[in-house]
């Protein structure tokens, strides 16, 4: 039995969603998706449709986040939560290798890269863009073996955004809210009518088609496609925030002494939350963990942040001792020098850094403040 064609569009009834989940498992995937835990919509294992945040939504703000009940029973009626998908491709802690002494020398064993094939269910457009950003980081140049292995067995099931949060600005960053054809293995649009709760399913890749084998589908009606387009268009027009990105690279690179860096540093806790909540921040540190006998040592990698002193520890101490210099480094890298390094912005407009900053520092506000008072960007900006 073969699945539908790549590029084809179908309707999936809400009642058939359990069959869809079962098909993912039957095709060898462990499903990870949104679930309600600790008063938030986080990502976790999904075994049954009841594991999804049925009838819940979220209200992310600057330094605040609350979940609340919806009037309907939407499965994906929320924005983005505290977690990002990066922990499934780039774990917060990862053993890289183990070395053991033998009689005359030592042996290094790299960490095996096998593991379960994950299906990420409910990936938003901004999150797909974030995975693409991290692909350029981890797969460009010298590919990271663990990331590559996990990425190769990954299935991305996107869900179009039916709403935008107060902290959303994907339209400004050009990453959403619509999921481009073929940007994901499958793209779902959730449609809720008084008489009918169903999904438009767009097939983006052959693997996306394969996992639909045996799932009850019906060809998409023109009205369904139009309703889905209208939903995404409405979301696009209701972004809670905007960021003017014109000339942003030079705007920031030319402003190392702007007084705004000191202003934001008076609020910034240098607590690392923004960077670790960010779906694209990729910095890590490594540490060797030896046994007391010294016969065996493990090298571990863990998420690090440019907001720590140790991040720039050199022979003479930390190179970025002031919080102003650390915030400037983060924002300038994220929005400006990322373009030089990876050919895109490091920001996808998801708003997590705004929400999960304990004091609600808002990068869109910081950029606007710098733009309001800084000199105009010039083409002669130093590279």
């Amino acid at each position: 039995m073969s699945g539908p064609e790549v590029g084809s569009r179908h309707e999936l009834e809400r009642g058939a969603f359990p069959a869809f989940l079962a098909s993912l498992e039957r095709h060898g995937y462990s499903v990870v998706g949104p679930t309600v835990r600790d008063q938030a919509i986080v990502y976790g294992e999904i075994h049954r449709v009841e594991d999804l945040p049925i009838g819940w939504t979220d209200r992310p703000g600057a330094g605040s986040y609350r979940i609340e009940r919806r009037a309907d029973a939407a499965l994906f009626g929320y924005n983005v939560g505290p977690h990002s998908w990066k922990r499934y491709l780039y774990p917060a802690h990862e053993r890289l290798w183990t070395a053991e002494r033998d009689a005359s020398s030592f042996t290094v064993r790299p960490e095996p890269t096998d593991g379960p094939a994950l299906a990420l269910l409910g990936v938003r457009a901004c999150e797909l863009a974030a995975i693409q950003v991290q692909d350029r980081v981890f797969l460009g140049g010298a590919p990271d073996p663990g990331y590559r292995a996990r990425r190769q067995r990954l299935l991305r099931i996107a869900v179009q955004c039916g709403q935008a949060a107060a902290t959303c600005f994907c339209v400004s960053m050009g990453t959403g809210p619509g999921v481009a054809p073929a940007a994901a293995d499958l793209a779902l649009t959730e449609l809720i009518r008084p008489e009918r709760h169903y999904f438009l399913v767009e097939v983006g890749t052959p693997e996306g088609a394969r996992v639909l084998e045996g799932v009850p589908l019906r060809p998409a009606a023109v009205e369904t496609e139009r309703a889905a387009e209208a939903l995404v268009a409405a979301t696009a027009s209701s972004m809670g925030r905007t960021m003017d990105t014109s000339g942003i690279r030079d705007l920031l690179v030319l402003q190392p002494e702007h007084p705004r860096w000191e202003v934001v540093a008076r609020r910034c806790l240098s607590c690392t939350n923004c960077t670790l909540a960010c779906p694209t921040c990729f910095c890590s540190t490594t540490e060797e963990v030896p046994t007391l006998s010294g016969e065996r040592v493990e090298r571990w990698r863990r998420w690090d942040s440019c907001f720590t002193l140790g991040f720039t520890e050199l022979h003479s101490g930390s190179a970025r001792r002031s919080t102003a210099s650390r915030y400037r480094q983060w924002l300038t890298h994220k929005l400006a020098t990322w373009h030089d390094q990876f050919g895109s912005s490091g920001c996808v407009g998801c708003g997590r850094c705004i929400t999960w900053c304990p004091v609600g520092i808002d990068l869109t506000e910081e950029v606007a403040a710098i733009r309001a008072t800084g000199p105009p960007a010039t083409p002669e900006a130093p590279r």
């Binding site: 609020r267 806790l269 607590c271 540490e287 007391l292 720590t308 304990p358």
Partner: protein, 264 residues
């Protein structure tokens, strides 16, 4: 390279609850490895068999609260090649540093039937205020893995890996939902040093600050945020005056009048 075949380890107790020393005994399987790697020469909590000093590595628990202890810590220092203080009592005076803000004679009158038998100092102070300290290991209690890391680093003649970043970094790595952002729960995590593995937020509680201030804590901003969350001055004193009440930065945060709202 390891130093002498089996370096001599001593564990000392000053004013404390013994919880940090118990963390040594609580190393379980690693305790056997520890006993193999070092000679446990003086550890009264574990054994009454004591080998005379000098000692290669001394772990000091507790704060200085008596004249006798102030004298004894100088002796311990004199016979210790490396002296590491372990736990909030030893590194900032502990919960008993609450006496630093009160009349200790009054306390003694209330608590003891015969207060004249009690000879105590008016303050509880960190070990480093009395003798030079080679390394401070924070926490109430200390973290077992960090304790082992200190000994391991000593044996390997390397710097121990003891991050001084905030508790938030640990919360984010383990995927804990921020209790301050998602619930409005006052939490000292953003200004507290990691090391506990972000235990309390994982159980829906705000951080109590057991590990003392993080590397570059922005306490004025933290105080402002607590104020916005409804933590009034009296509640803020209780929040900052726990196990690290004697820490100068936490003391200042407890006493600060709420700073005015920052201009954006």
């Amino acid at each position: 390279m390891p130093r002498s075949p089996r370096p001599k380890l001593a564990v000392w107790k000053f004013a404390s609850c013994d919880g940090c020393q118990l963390s040594v005994l609580d190393l379980e399987d690693d305790l056997l490895a520890l006993a193999g790697a070092v000679e446990i020469a003086n550890f009264r909590e574990a054994s009454s068999a004591v080998v005379d000093g000098p000692y290669d590595l001394s772990l000091v628990e507790g704060s200085v609260t008596t004249e006798e202890d102030a004298r004894r810590i100088r002796e311990v220092r004199a016979e210790s090649r490396i002296l590491v203080t372990i736990g909030a009592c030893a590194t900032s005076g502990g919960i008993q540093a609450l006496r630093n803000f009160a009349d200790v004679k009054e306390f003694a009158r209330v608590v003891y039937a015969r207060p004249e038998y009690v000879r105590t100092l008016a303050t509880s102070t960190a070990i480093r205020e009395h003798v030079p300290v080679d390394l401070e290991l924070r926490g109430c209690p200390v973290n077992k893995a960090q304790l082992l890391e200190v000994v391991s680093a000593y044996l390997g003649d390397r710097s121990p890996n003891l991050p001084t970043e905030s508790v938030c970094a640990s919360c984010k790595r383990r995927g804990t939902v921020c209790v301050m952002v998602a619930r409005g729960t006052p939490c000292l995590g953003p200004v507290t040093q990691s090391g506990c593995g972000a235990l309390c937020p994982a159980y829906d509680r705000g951080c109590y600050g057991c590990f003392g201030p993080a590397e570059t804590p922005n306490l004025p901003s933290m105080v402002r945020r607590l104020d916005e969350l409804g933590v009034d001055a009296a509640a803020r004193v209780r929040l900052f005056r726990t196990f690290n009440a004697g820490d100068p930065l936490f003391r200042e945060a407890a006493n600060a009048s709420a700073p005015p709202a920052e201009a954006r």
